[in-house]
């Protein structure tokens, strides 16, 4: 494999919660985003998925580990390199409405990243913005409108256009279709696929909706309480997941073609507070297979099958595969 475009190595993010205490939102996460792929990141709210994305983009300071862009540590970047990096990695947020400034027209909002970067002449910037808006399927009459005059789907298109004007290589989509109706969601997902091909994008797609992630992603990482618990290709994960949490997550997804209640594993309780995570495997409080050992030893994410790693101590007993066997 060539050098990954963007990689996180053992990245941790801690936030102060008062009284000298900290919450570790992301705990030793490693991810590799290779050129041209779509990596899906799933997990419940509170699992740290958004924080991973923000850490990767430099929107939150990391307290441990390294973020690398094309193999180089971003913390060592000077102002110029830093600017190049932020142009190359852009984000589309969840709520299309609050991501747009209500006092700016769509064209102004979409042009803004270029204005900030002082790129070229104003006219050229305007042209780039108009082109991006065309690419996302917004007609020219929308340019002078304000966010409140647009529908949810149109607003999300404008947000995508704004992420594209800097001609990025990586697009981070944080729950970008969660606020939309099914029919609109399908339109935006189709649009993202088209743009991915046209702009040769690499995508980090964050969502709690497994059917959406399964549809767009080539590989999927599953997060739980700040840790990645399973990493696999989409086929491998959906076909045969090797971690009890992923299994429960997959089975909880309501499906139209299968209403059998038997396949469902209903997890008890809520995700524990990351301020005081349970000792050992962080999933042990809700895992139906948890044993004494799971409360003592924290399982590392180890390869099980080629391209498929899992952080469960009991992989061998539960799934009949040895940990640390397959190629990394």
């Amino acid at each position: 494999m060539s050098t990954p475009l963007l990689s996180l190595e053992d990245v941790s993010v801690r936030f102060p919660v008062g009284g000298r205490r900290h919450v570790t939102a992301v705990d030793g996460v490693s991810l590799e985003l290779c050129e041209g792929e779509t990596l899906g990141l799933i997990g419940e709210s509170g699992s740290g998925k958004s924080t991973v994305a923000r850490a990767a983009m430099g929107l939150v300071p990391i307290s441990g580990g390294t973020v690398r862009w094309r193999g180089e540590d971003v913390s060592g970047f000077g102002a110029k390199e830093r600017r190049g990096f932020s142009q190359a990695v852009q984000m589309v947020f969840q709520d299309p409405h609050s991501a747009l400034d209500p006092r700016r027209t769509i064209l102004q909002s979409v042009r803004e990243p270029l204005d900030v970067m002082k790129r070229g002449e104003r006219q050229d910037r305007e042209q780039i913005a108009v082109k991006a808006l065309e690419d996302v399927g917004l007609s020219t009459q929308m340019l002078s409108r304000y966010p409140h005059q647009l529908s949810g789907g149109q607003k999300q298109r404008a947000n995508i256009a704004r992420a594209l004007v800097t001609n990025p290589q990586v697009l981070v989509c944080d729950e970008s279709v969660a606020a939309l109706d099914v029919a609109l969601q399908a339109e935006i997902l189709n649009l993202l696929q088209d743009l991915k091909a046209e702009y040769e994008l690499t995508v980090l797609f964050i969502s709690h909706d497994l059917s959406v992630v399964g549809y767009v992603a080539d590989r999927i990482s599953v997060m739980y309480l700040g840790n990645i618990v399973e990493n696999a290709t989409t086929e491998s994960l959906v076909g045969r997941s090797l971690h009890p949490y992923s299994e429960a997550l997959l089975s909880a997804q309501p499906l139209v073609h299968d209403s059998s209640a038997e396949r469902r594993i209903v997890l008890k309780g809520d995700i524990p507070s990351p301020v005081s995570p349970p000792p050992g495997c962080r999933f042990n409080t809700r895992c139906q297979f948890a044993q004494e050992g799971c409360r003592e030893e924290k399982p590392a994410l180890l390869p099980v099958l080629p391209g498929h790693s899992s952080a469960c101590l009991r992989v061998e007993e539960l799934y009949g595969e040895r940990r640390g066997k397959g190629a990394a």
Partner: protein, 327 residues
């Protein structure tokens, strides 16, 4: 006898020339113990239907026509005025966002007891004991301690359980659940769906489940009703409707669902948007977005029976075979 019978429900908003119609001739019945799904995109009229039934539409800005009878009691009189004795109507509602539906400055215990004391006329001690029992019934651990908790101290799933407990405090025969699981994670959604199903079964309670998620409908509901632009366009048993939809709109909603199996393929979309209330479309309202529209579709459409329990508002549903999902 049906628990709820609604006939010719029409809702208008605004006055005089600014008046727009939000619901057109909605008829529906719910049998005791039945879970009925009400499905559609935003703007299809599902929430207006449930708010009208709950009596939550402001009479100064809206006008209700038609008849609705729940358990033998009319919900409003001929002039659309709300039944004065509404408090005794065995009807309750659970809303989408529990954080905004609960009062942030009162403990969940006091909010539960308030309902019990006004609706069921209990004294303080009775209300307290009943509140603890209700919290226990909705699966909240250590209910006595949770009585003293404020909404912000609870997780999203727990708050929604409290909302369900408050709804149950009215001892409803019909529970209207408006997108109750949209704001929570899938794992919590699975817990809440199980809870609602088991409560319906144990108490013989009917549920009108408003949702845009066909997966949820497939898991929880017995029958489903598809709404579009303020009209019912299809209804029938869930398995039959999802297996072979009778209306192109239901088919479109199904086809737009992504799944790992369809990776790399383009998702089917429904071109255009739900027309805003007040728009007049000649004939079938779905015609401008329908891939199967023919000249005859410009005539007004009625619900056409397809089988004993199924109806669809599409003249071509018998001749065309709309793609459903294999179950």
């Amino acid at each position: 006898m049906a628990l709820l019978t609604v006939e010719g429900l029409q809702v208008h908003f605004g006055h005089d020339e600014n008046q727009v119609q939000a619901l057109y001739d909605v008829d529906l019945t719910i049998e005791p113990g039945e879970i009925v799904g009400l499905v559609g995109e935003s703007g299809s009229g599902k929430t207006v239907t449930s708010l009208a039934l709950m009596g939550l539409l402001d009479p100064r800005s809206s006008r209700i026509e038609g008849r609705a009878v729940l358990d033998g009691q009319p919900l409003w009189n001929e002039r659309g005025e709300r039944n004065a004795a509404r408090r005794d109507v065995p009807l309750a509602m659970v809303f989408q966002e529990p954080m905004t539906a609960l009062d942030p400055v009162f403990t969940v215990g006091s909010q539960l007891m308030e309902t019990l004391r006004t609706r069921r006329g209990m004294d303080k001690a009775q209300a307290r004991a009943e509140s603890v029992a209700l919290l226990d019934a909705v699966g909240i651990s250590d209910p006595k301690a949770r009585m003293k908790a404020y909404p912000h101290e609870l997780s999203g799933g727990m708050r929604q359980r409290v909302m369900i407990a408050i709804a149950l405090a009215c001892d409803p025969k019909l529970l209207i659940a408006d997108e109750p699981t949209t704001a929570v994670d899938v794992t919590i959604q699975a817990q809440l769906l199980d809870l609602i199903k088991s409560l319906a079964r144990e108490r013989g309670m009917s549920v009108l489940f408003v949702t845009h998620d066909l997966g949820v409908v497939s898991e929880t509901c017995d029958r489903m009703i598809t709404m579009y632009a303020g009209r019912i366009v299809e209804r029938g048993p869930v398995a039959e409707v999802l297996g072979s939809p009778g209306h192109p709109y239901t088919m479109g909603l199904l086809a737009a669902l992504p799944s790992p199996g369809s990776r790399g393929e383009r998702l089917a979309t429904i071109p255009g948007r739900v027309p805003p209330p007040g728009t007049t479309v000649e004939g079938c309202v779905f015609r401008p977005r329908c891939p199967f529209a023919v000249d005859e579709c410009t005539k007004p459409q009625d619900l056409i029976p397809l089988s004993t329990a199924r109806e669809a508002r599409c003249i071509r549903s018998r001749e065309l075979d709309f793609q459903g999902v294999a179950r």
